[in-house]
Symmetry: C2
């Protein structure tokens, strides 16, 4: 159920989901409200006036009784469950006069629907079931049980070639299985990876089980693994599960994992940890649907190159050493149980192929999901994380590269940086005159730190308000208690200790700004280098596709404002979310799509940026907010 | 080196290998010589007169000095190492007069060369090696090691599709292997089982190892397993090895093995025993050639259906129960090491497909070897053992059946029956008037028992001399100490206790004769039933192919004489020897031939004889020497 919120005096209408937090809704709509404590109800700043309808307010007590009676509410403690009109107190200038200003644009404005990007697909999974009533053998007709099964399959689908079989359990169990089932069985058939390959019988089940056909898609992230259980008869997701990649105990990022893998027993330990993580996901989704893990007939996964190597216990040693070479890029179809995964021994696990050491299967799956390899249009595909991966191209060619953006967008290298979890500042506005903050956190708690999307908000707001200059240096002439010299660098206090979860001031410093500028500079230089390598400019792009969970939370205008994304027509931007998972889902649901992945891998050409002089030049020029070449950012110029 | 022997007074010329025993040579040529002790030199009966040249005689002492001087030798102790003329003492009638008679025909007269049957084939094995100088990776060219390898393969053979790979060891070891070998490696490629399948990389070796390419062909017999090591670059057999199938400790025949397999742990024990046997053969052939077992790149095997099931640890339970169904007839390509075989982990082991419970891969391999499935001519393929297997047909159709002949031809059910080993009577003649025997044993030792070929000789000679009648009953009117009533059945004394290795009389009884008649009757009824099922008669046969080691030792005339083989033009008979092994060798050496085996299996239709009324009728009619219907045996009639 959705509700309308009418914000006054800015006269902004937005639609929100039932149960949305009012402060979060205002921040998303670009409406500034004083809010120091992230939404925990303690600072008492975010008072708003209900003009029509009311919210559910769970902390009325912190307001005076007469305030509550007058319809005043704390936005951070207000839950929207009906259509309402809300008046935000006038913004006040430093001199006390009211300040009129337009609300900012927000990410949702430019988001396009998923379907326009990835299209639709039939439910035609790479694995299928066939129920057979097999005539029992007689003395006149005593061919082997396997031949008999094959004959029944042939009778049921006379136009398909005879399936193959190579699964030891199958040949060992078939005879008993047929007899126990009184010759009424369901065969599970795996379609060939290539078109000319015959189907493969992977298992035989007693009775008619054709209504139970499940597949699991897993995105193997360095930090988080997530899985979805799909009913392959309908193509619908029926359960989801996720968890931290348990490898995290051996290192936060892929570099740390690769280093750990070189210790005695390290590779094995890492392999076991990711398998443990996937087993937990299987356990979770199966419990939700009350099915057995052995009911899952196919597992489709994608992960970056390091994750894929570790998953298969392939030594990632040479990924780290110049010239950065994966051992294998096209991973053979593997039996999941052989890796320790809780699955029927016959079940295959597919891993999306990788392109290079740092452009992995997650990117191939993402590109595959959005069908770049079939489109006339030229797309720029971006996945921002510790390593930013970039793909440019269309149905005729695809170039890709990874740029070591550094971990700023994942909270690394930022003093109070953190992952996008409870208490992370995810949205931020600044009063353009008083420089007071509006801090919105994940979970509407007191702030604990800054996540990637919060960092982009903070930097773009500070830049916009003139608190910092394009080089990321603070305007030391501003006289405000939140702008101060701390330690040996200048900083801005996002939350005072009393308003923060950690009991100390949460700040952003010039060191943090340097790191952010380097990270976004690397990304931007990456786009430029790849475009130049194929003789194109930003104007030639038809689409910019933002992948990754982080991509889904980027505020487009703010990301362009700081120079993280190119300043082109906003209508060209698409948010794809977890593209890697989406690719797995599509491949798991539609076999023709699955087979197309070969085209993706074949088209993609990797470019190594790490020692590329063009990249270095572009990178140096991009260490500025938004850029040294302002002609690349016409919107920024227009705003000035 | 070969030598000519001229036997007098019969004026028979034969050619023998250097070192042949003179008594054995005489027996093979159908020349009768008194010989009671099998060739051990103790009975002193087999005196012959050298007329030209001489033999090497190692027991001159048992002759009187003047006898030796006169050129008299004991044939059983004489080794032929030059051309000689030998006079056999005149055969003497019961009344003392000389008896003139023609020597008998022998098996070698009708044997055709192998090549006329199986044709020739190019050396083009299903596994090949390719030496590659792989360009090392650079920053500009840093595709994965596997892709790099693939590219080098593609450059070397641009017209072949990209090979696949699914071998875990390969992907785990490739990167280190390439670097340790300084990018000069040899890949081992396995050609697809089907024509449309791409090659498969199974291993990578450092340096150029293309001159070392070996394959092993193994015939997995119930009693004996034998193997040949083949240099796949030349197609030549370079070493042979064999040994008893160690399963023999759990039962002599397939029935006993199947029974044992149903005991707890029985299946596993049987599987391990046959693997142990094969490992011994591998060890033997590798030691002979000073190569490592891991240098063998392919293993091709054939065995009967029970052996194949046990080899793969597939429960043979349903093979024994009506309607006698194998679990699997087309066995998947299996990794040898996975079964416990001493081989490189990548090496595939192929098992010839079986047709039914009692027509196994050994028969398919044999039929495949002699190319019945490609010939216009109609062939009758016979493998005589405990189970006699019969295949009839040509390139358009093949029908097959097994008849439970009983173990008579392998020494079972015969009082003094034994396998064809040291001391077994393998050839026999009887004096037509005195009824004295000429006993020739394997190894020219005192006799210990009777093997299958000996049994056929004995029965046909007894029948020919009128000692027994066509029903296998002794002529009780003959007054001869060797023909006597022993126990409760009549018998003939083949060797007196003093001349035998076991110190007791070795006899053949009416019970033995009954068993033999049943065994040969089952075979003959099998031929008739199969021929009738396709509307043919013996006259329609173009070829009769005798397979199996036993087949190679059958004396054609004698086998026809007792009704074991059809009485047709002797020129139609071919001896193929170990056809199963030959099929493996050919498949291992030539890939196109290997692929043809599918046609063999597809053409072959099994007929179950065990409860077939036509078979039963034919069987009853065949319980006669040679047959109740003498019109089927014109030669026998002619002799009378």
């Amino acid at each position: 159920m959705e509700h309308n919120i009418h914000f006054l005096p800015d006269d902004v209408h937005v639609t929100v989901e039932d149960g949305e937090n009012l402060l979060t809704a205002a921040a998303a709509a670009g409406i500034y409200i004083h809010a120091y404590c992230g939404g925990d109800g303690v600072c008492g700043k975010c008072k708003v006036q209900m003009e029509k309808g009311d919210v559910v307010s769970d902390n009325a007590a912190s307001l005076k009784a007469d305030e509550y009676k007058k319809g005043i509410r704390l936005a951070c403690k207000a839950t929207v469950n009906s259509d309402i009109t809300v008046r935000i107190p006038d913004m006040v200038k430093a001199d006390g006069k009211a300040l009129k200003r337009a609300p900012k644009t927000t990410r949702s404005i430019s988001a396009k629907s998923l379907e326009s990007l990835v299209g639709t697909w039939d439910v035609d999974p790479p694995v299928g079931k066939l129920f057979l009533k097999v005539p029992p053998p007689t003395l006149e007709d005593n061919i082997s049980d396997m031949q008999r099964l094959m004959r029944s399959i042939k009778n049921k689908r006379p136009d398909s070639p005879e399936p193959s079989y190579d699964h030891p359990e199958l040949i060992h169990e078939l005879s008993e299985a047929l007899r126990e089932a009184e010759w009424e069985v369901t065969v599970i058939l795996l379609h060939g990876k290539r078109k000319d390959e015959p189907d493969r019988i992977i298992a035989v089940e007693a009775g008619d089980t054709t209504d139970r056909l499940y597949g699991l898609a897993v995105d193997i992230g360095t930090t988080t693994c997530s899985g979805v259980l799909i009913d392959l008869n309908t193509g619908k997701i029926i359960a989801e599960g996720s968890g931290y990649n348990s490898q995290i105990g051996y290192g936060e990022d892929v570099i740390a994992r690769m280093i750990y893998s070189q210790r005695p027993g390290g590779l094995k330990a890492l392999q076991e940890k990711v398998v443990y993580t996937i087993n937990n996901i299987i356990d979770e989704v199966c419990k939700k649907m009350i099915i057995s893990p052995s009911d899952i007939s196919y597992i489709m996964t994608a992960g970056n190159t390091v994750m894929a190597h570790l998953m298969l216990a392939i030594n990632p040693k040479f990924l780290r050493e110049a010239p950065y070479v994966p051992s294998v890029s096209q991973f053979p179809l593997t039996k999941a149980a052989g890796l320790g995964i809780m699955a029927h021994p016959s079940v295959r696990m597919f891993l999306y192929p990788c392109i290079s050491s740092y452009v992995g299967g997650d990117i191939v799956a993402g590109v595959h999901a959005c069908q770049m390899q079939k489109s006339e249009e030229i797309s720029l595909f971006i996945d921002i994380g510790t390593n930013g991966e970039i793909v440019i191209g269309n149905k005729d060619w695809l170039v890709c590269a990874a740029c070591s953006a550094g971990p700023a967008f994942e909270g690394g290298g930022i003093g109070y940086g953190m992952r996008a979890s409870q208490g992370a500042i995810e949205n931020f506005q600044i009063h353009p005159e008083t420089f007071d903050p509006m801090v919105v956190t994940i979970g509407n708690t007191k702030p604990r730190g800054i996540c990637g999307s919060g960092l982009i908000s903070i930097v773009s707001e500070l830049l916009d308000a003139g608190v910092i200059d394009p080089q990321g240096k603070f305007n030391q002439t501003l006289n405000h208690p939140r702008i101060r010299e701390g330690g040996n660098r200048w900083e801005y206090v996002l939350a005072w200790g009393r308003d923060s979860m950690i009991g100390e001031d949460i700040v952003i410093t010039e060191v943090d700004l340097d790191n952010l500028i380097r990270a976004k500079g690397a990304m931007y230089a990456g786009y430029q280098t790849l475009l130049e390598s194929v003789g194109l400019t930003f104007n030639d792009l038809d689409r910019v596709i933002l992948a990754g969970n982080f991509g889904a939370y980027i505020d487009l205008e703010r990301a362009i404002c700081i120079g993280l994304l190119p300043d082109i027509d906003r209508d060209k931007f698409f948010y794809l979310g977890n593209a890697s998972m989406l690719g797995c889902q599509i491949s798991l649901t539609n076999h023709s799509r699955f087979r197309e992945r070969v085209a993706v891998r074949t088209l993609m050409t990797n470019m190594e940026l790490s020692e590329n002089p063009d990249f270095m030049n572009h990178y140096m020029a991009a260490l500025f907010l938004p850029h040294t070449d302002m002609s690349l950012f016409p919107s920024a110029k227009a705003n000035k």
